[in-house]
C-alpha cells in the first residue's frame, strides 16, 4: 500500500482520507496510521500547494544558480550547502554531478533582488568559486504537472 499511497498523495495531498481508503481498498484507520508513520519517518516531509504565480498579480521572479565551490576538509559540501539553504529566499539546494557542484533555486520579488542576493551574499562566501545565474522565463511543467494547458477529453463520447 505504501508505494501506491505515496504516488496518490504526491499528486493530490488534499484527498479525503475516506476516499483514499476506498481507492486503496483498505480501512480508513490503516491509512491514518500509515500516513502518521510516513510523517514520523520523515518520508512525507510536508504538504505543499502548487501555485502558478504567473497567473496572479503578484510579482515573483525565480532563478536557477549554478554554484562552483571548494569542498571543505571533513565536511565535503555539507557546510557550504547549509550556509546557502538557510537563506529563506533559497527554495532548494541540490548537490549535482557534472560541471558544477550546487544547484540553487531562488525566488525573489524582482531581478534586482535576485542579482543582489547573488552578488552580495552568495558570491562573497569564502568557498564559492563562481556562480552562473539563469532566470526562469516561463514554467511549462512543474512537479509533474503541465501548467500551460488543461487536459481535454477528445474521445468520441460512446464507443464499443
Amino acid at each position: 500500500m505504501r508505494e501506491e499511497l505515496l504516488a496518490i498523495i504526491e499528486r493530490n495531498s488534499r484527498i479525503d482520507l475516506k476516499e483514499l481508503a476506498v481507492i486503496l481498498g483498505v480501512e480508513e484507520i490503516d491509512v491514518v496510521n500509515e500516513l502518521q508513520t510516513l510523517e514520523e519517518e520523515g518520508i512525507i516531509c510536508g504538504y505543499h500547494t502548487m501555485i502558478d504565480w504567473e497567473k496572479t498579480s503578484i510579482e515573483k521572479v525565480s532563478a536557477l544558480i549554478e554554484v562552483r565551490v571548494t569542498p571543505q576538509r571533513g565536511q565535503g559540501f555539507d557546510n557550504i550547502a547549509e550556509r546557502i539553504y538557510k537563506y529563506p529566499e533559497v527554495t532548494s539546494v541540490y548537490l549535482i554531478s557534472g560541471g558544477y557542484d550546487l544547484l540553487v533555486t531562488l525566488e525573489g520579488k524582482s531581478l534586482k533582488e535576485i542579482s543582489g542576493f547573488v552578488s552580495d551574499k552568495l558570491s562573497t562566501l569564502d568557498s564559492v568559486l563562481s556562480t552562473a545565474t539563469h532566470f526562469i522565463l516561463k514554467k511549462y511543467k512543474d512537479h509533474g504537472t503541465i501548467l500551460t494547458k488543461k487536459y481535454e477529453d477528445t474521445r468520441e463520447k460512446v464507443t464499443p
Binding site: 501506491e4 476506498v22 481507492i23 486503496l24 487536459y151 468520441e156 463520447k157 460512446v158 464499443p160
Partner: protein, 389 residues
C-alpha cells in the same frame, strides 16, 4: 439499381452502441461514461518513437505479417507473461487492431454452416464477423450468478456436431469478468474432448485486478487449437494507432496472412515502430495505468454499495456492469432517461447481447473527478426512481 446491396450485410443488426452514440452526440454538455478506450494519452516515449520513424522516412509498407522485430517482441512478451513460445516467422501476424484479427481469424477457419460459440454479453463484433464468415453464431448467455464467467457446463450444453470454434472474450468487455486458472482448466477439458478451436480475445489481458491474467494457451494441448488475439489499444492506450496481433498454429496463420494481405497489405508502419517501443520499454506505463484503473474500480464499487445498487465485483478491463432490474425498466429506457434527466451517458447492457438486459455498462476510463461527478448524478437519479415507486 435493383438488388444493389448484399443481403448478408443488410441483414446485420446495426450496433446498439451506434444508436446510443447518435443520441449522445446531440447533447453538448453530456458527461459520458460510455467510452471503450483509455483516457490516458499514449505514453510519450511510444509516441516519440512513432514520430521518429516518420522523421527517418519509414513510410513504406512492411512485410504482410508485420515488422519482424515487432513479431519477435510479441513472442518475447508472451513467453515472459504466459510461458508459451511462438515462432515469430510463422505464428504471429500484426493486424489493424484486435478487430481485424477477429474478422480474418474467423474467416480463416469457418466453413458454411459451422457454428461459432459466442458467450454474451461481449464485444459487438463477434456475431457479425461470424455471420460474414459464413458461420452460424450460437450465443451462450453468461450469468451474473457465475460472475459472468463461462462455465464448463454452459459450454458443454452449447456444443453440437457443427461446433467449430469458441470465442473466449476475457477479461470481458462489457462485464469486466475474468477467467481464472481453474475456470480455464475446466473449459480446456471440454474443448479437447470435443476437438474444437478457440479464439481467445485477450485485449484486456494487462488490466486485471486480482490474480495476473491467465491465458487458455497455457492449458495443456490448447496452444495448437487457439487463435490468440491481443493488441496495443488498451494496455498502452494506443486505440487510434489501430494495432493488434494474432498468434496461433501455423496452418491457420498462413490463411490469415493471405486474407490480411489481400484486404489490408500490412498494418500501419508508424504504429508498428511505436509498438516495438511499447513492448520494449512500456511495462512501467502499463503498471501505472493499471493501478489508476484499479483505484477507480474500487471507488465505483464502493459508490454502488453506498447507493445500494447491485453490482458483482469485476476484476478485469475497465468496466463495471451494475444491475438495474429493481427499477422495472429496460436497460435502454434507463440509459435514455438517465441521459435526458441527468445528462450522463452510460451504455445499455443490451448493446452487447440480449442477455445484457437489466444491466448497464459503465466505463471507468475517466479521471476520478469525472467519475465522482457522474456517480453523484447516478445516485440522485437512483434515489428519484426509488421514490417514484
Amino acid at each position: 439499381m435493383k438488388d444493389m446491396l448484399s443481403k448478408q450485410a443488410v441483414g446485420l443488426k446495426p450496433s446498439g452502441i451506434r444508436k446510443f452514440f447518435d443520441i449522445v452526440s446531440e447533447m453538448d454538455d453530456a458527461i459520458s461514461l460510455g467510452v471503450g478506450e483509455p483516457d490516458f494519452d499514449t505514453p510519450w516515449h511510444i509516441r516519440d518513437e512513432g514520430i521518429y520513424s516518420l522523421e527517418k522516412g519509414r513510410t513504406f509498407y512492411t512485410s504482410n505479417s508485420g515488422l519482424i522485430q515487432l513479431r519477435q517482441e510479441i513472442c518475447n512478451y508472451i513467453k515472459r507473461k504466459q510461458g508459451v513460445a511462438y515462432d515469430p516467422q510463422h505464428e504471429v501476424l500484426i493486424t489493424v487492431g484486435g478487430s481485424e484479427a477477429i474478422d480474418i481469424g474467423l474467416r480463416a477457419v469457418i466453413n458454411p454452416g459451422d457454428e461459432v460459440l459466442i458467450p454474451q454479453p461481449s464485444f459487438v463484433s463477434y456475431e457479425p464477423c461470424a455471420i460474414m464468415a459464413g458461420g452460424v453464431p450460437v450465443i451462450i448467455e453468461l450469468k451474473e450468478e457465475n460472475e459472468f464467467r463461462l462455465t464448463a457446463k454452459e459450454l458443454e450444453d452449447a456444443i453440437t456436431e457443427k461446433t467449430k470454434i469458441l470465442i473466449l472474450p476475457f477479461p470481458n468487455n462489457p462485464t469486466g469478468a475474468i477467467m481464472e486458472r481453474k475456470d480455464l482448466e475446466e473449459i480446456a477439458e471440454v474443448i479437447r474432448k470435443h476437438d474444437i478451436l478457440v479464439m481467445s480475445d485477450e485485449i484486456y489481458a494487462e488490466l486485471t485486478y486480482k490474480e495476473k491474467h491467465v491465458s487458455i494457451i497455457e492449458m495443456e494441448g490448447m496452444q495448437e487449437r487457439t487463435i490468440l488475439i491481443n493488441g496495443f489499444s488498451k494496455a498502452y492506450a494506443m486505440t487510434g494507432w489501430r494495432l493488434g496481433y494474432a498468434c496461433g498454429p501455423r496452418e491457420i496463420l498462413q490463411q490469415m496472412v493471405k486474407l490480411h494481405q489481400f484486404a489490408i497489405m500490412c498494418a500501419p508502419t508508424t504504429s508498428q515502430y511505436a509498438a516495438v517501443e511499447a513492448l520494449r520499454n512500456g511495462d512501467d506505463d502499463v503498471r501505472e495505468m493499471c493501478m489508476a484503473y484499479n483505484q477507480r474500480r474500487r471507488y465505483l464499487m464502493n459508490a454502488f454499495r453506498e447507493m445500494k445498487l447491485s453490482c458483482f465485483e469485476p476484476f478485469g478491463a475497465f468496466y463495471v456492469f451494475p444491475c438495474i432490474k429493481e427499477f422495472g425498466m429496460t436497460s435502454e429506457e434507463f440509459a435514455e432517461r438517465f441521459l435526458a434527466e441527468e445528462k450522463v451517458a452510460v451504455v445499455p447492457g443490451t448493446a452487447f447481447g440480449d442477455c445484457g438486459e437489466g444491466y448497464l455498462r459503465i466505463s471507468y476510463a475517466y479521471s476520478l473527478d469525472n467519475l465522482k461527478l457522474a456517480i453523484g448524478k447516478l445516485s440522485d437519479f437512483v434515489s428519484r426512481l426509488r421514490g417514484e415507486k
